[in-house]
Amino acid sequence: MLEIRNIHKYYEKQLLLDDISFTLGADETVCLLGPSGGGKSTLLRIIAGLEELESGQVLWDGQDITHEPAHLRRFGLMFQDYALFPHMNVRENVAFGLRMQRLPDDEIHRRTDEALALVNMNAFAKRRVTDLSGGEQQRVALARALVPHPRLLMLDEPLGALDRALREQLSEDLRAVLQQMDIPVIYVTHDQEEAFTFGDRLFILHEGRIIQSGSPDQVYNHPDSLWLAAFFGHKNRLDGHVVESEPLRVRTADGLLECGPQSQEYQKGQIVTVVLPLDAASLAADEKNTLDAWVKDIRFQGMGYMIDFQLAHGQEMTFFFNESLPRGGQVRLALQPHSILCFPKIEGQGT
């Protein structure tokens, strides 16, 4: 199986990948999640053998393959822009990997047909790839990557170039195809929903390091850092100081908040930033864990309402509600202790 050990990579004298290590299970799908330009694609190219690295090792079944040429590794890689060969038609593109293995013509033919059927592109076999739509190109690229039976499949933003409606549809198709394969998959994306959909495990890549890994719900519900909380879209923040560490209670300007169990421990008196996820608030029935707020703005979102509140000290917050609230009205918001996240305050970052 794939093992990555201490990979370092510089790009124009900047450290792009900083000590990346992980191991991949036999038929596990791992999602590399992180903002664009974070070195995710570079990591894929290193694993594929297309890029040099300053230090570190790539191992397969315990064997060091760091210096094995790309074409001998049998790792499939699907590029974000699909990289279909413009001078070949759909069938020739898909058959390319089999031709490289110098298989007999009838086997190439049969397996190409199978792969095209798998992605529902039989009818397009003779088409020029330049005449295909984005979604069709994506299917061809997937078939081309799968048909040589790679030992490992890497997908670089496979849905990134598609528009939203198409992405949802193809996302299901892709999931169905991947579930039929019993090979490990590395799926690179900057989109958290995609990562949650596909990943058995998530690796969060930030500034060249894997800052957190785990199952999607684990990572989403318990981000280790303020940065990751913000990356997941948690924008509601309040600063305060710890008044009690067990259970954790934080005094903020707008009231005392009790937080559920956190990934790290806090000392009494420590200055912290409390993050309140979108779904953490409801209308209060009692006095515990509450914030007083005015309803500033309401946006209907289909499944419910995004409601902007203003707290007593001017702080603005947004929460998701199932029902609407009167604009301008004053409400008392109750916060679920287990959904409140707490982080050490980072100096220089206002709330």
Partner: protein, 565 residues
Amino acid sequence: MQSKRWNAGRLALWLLPLGFLLAFYFFPLGKIAALSLSKWRQNGLTGWDWGLVGRTAGFTFYQAVLSTLLTLVVGMPAAYLFSRFRFRGKGFLRVASTLPFILPTVVVAAAFNALIGPHGWLNQGLMAAFQLAQPPIVIQNSLAAILLAHVFYNTSIVIRVVSTAWEGVDLRLENAARTLGASPARVFRQVTLPLIRPALISAFLLVFLFDFTSFGVILMLGGPQFSTLEVEIYIQTMQFLNLPLAGLLSLIQLVFCMGITALIIGTGRSLSVPVMPRGNQENLRKPKKAPEKLFVFIMSFFLVFLLVMPLIALVGQALIVSDQNGWHLSLQYFRQLFVNSRQSIFYVPPIDALRNSLLYALTASSLALGLGMLLAIATRASRILSRVLNWLVLLPLGTSAVTFGLGLYLAFGTGRTALRWYPLLIPLAHALIALPFVLNLIEPALNAIPANLKWAARTLGASPRAVWRRVELPIIWRSALTAFVYAFAISLGEFGATSFLTRPDIPTLPIAVYRYLNLPGSLNYGQAMAMSVILLAVCALSMFLVDRLQLPGWSDNTRKVQPDA
């Protein structure tokens, strides 16, 4: 990872083009320098005819400036015509304006001779009309003839370079300036001109370089009293056998040309000329107002007269025979090409020159394409080495054809090695001359292939060699073929270097045209015209091919992600 490792194959890839340049470029150039230096050692500075050197250099500069300015005066309105108006016959005019650029100098000289020379249509017509005994227009052997031919030659460069830029200037910008209260003159000065200025400077430098190194036109139309550096090198070598002086002139020429080339490259311009201005339909309109209509009419008429008439006269002179029965159409001159007559200046029928030329051109273009490919591959393997090689390749670009000829002649054309090398010298020289153009076409095409395509092929199991064969080569074949055809056309019409390296019994077509043009008698004149027509036809065919090859370019339909239906 493997890519940076050196192995025998990679080294050969490098050494081959490098060795070629060393042997056939630097060694000959060294010969020229050594020759001049040895004379200098003997006599010091006093041994040279400095008056001649100064006069020649001065005239070279003078005629180049004059020609370039005149070309711009003609080319600018023509570029405007092409980049802003839609009118009947534009397609024809566009092709007509492309043609001169690729025409061999001898064909241009012959064409002007056919129109305005002593036997030219204009003079014959005037003599017939006014019963004159002498040709009334004596333009042959004058500066005017040189300038005219240069304008004919290079107007197409100005049109192509400038109109490509001009077409790119969005009409809406000019309209916006108008609505903001700028007069048309001001719009031109403050909006259009700044936007096309880079192209204008490019065109100026290119045309200047071509005029500065002009050889055939001046030799054939200027006559004995005008000589540029190029012509003087030839005269000193061929007539006075004063090789050291020829070498000195060559070095002076080299310094000037390198300077201009460095200026062009250094300012980030390219020596390539866009193949064909393709209309940006949005910025084109039909001439509506009377002055516009008048401009379009006069300008296209003028361009037809300037660019097409000489060629028509050339074809006419080759096909129309005048004898005691008057004027009539005849293929007599063409038929004569197959006859090995006793008065012939060659020992072979003139048509053999065509065979020689085609053979040389085929060898030269294959050589140039092969070398170009090797260089293009080699230059991307390593950054530092590629920079070195890139600079080395620039040098031939700034070397005039006559310098090539002289250098190769000195290095391989005389002495004991001469016999063995002679049949190869001409294609070698042509390949060197064509090499920069070939590289200019191949390198961008190779660099335009997205890295992802090569990476995708690698992960699908393609070795580096398979990637080259199955992905890169099929994608750039159009460019490679275009480069081949270009090199072929260049070789076919090459005159400057060839004139040093040719042997009487193996003439090329341009050499034959030159010789025949200088002989008395209407049969020789007619045969010169006929051979020029053949050259013209082959070159026109080549350009037609190049234009066809351009059509569905790979860059036109790269993987654009279309919205799904």
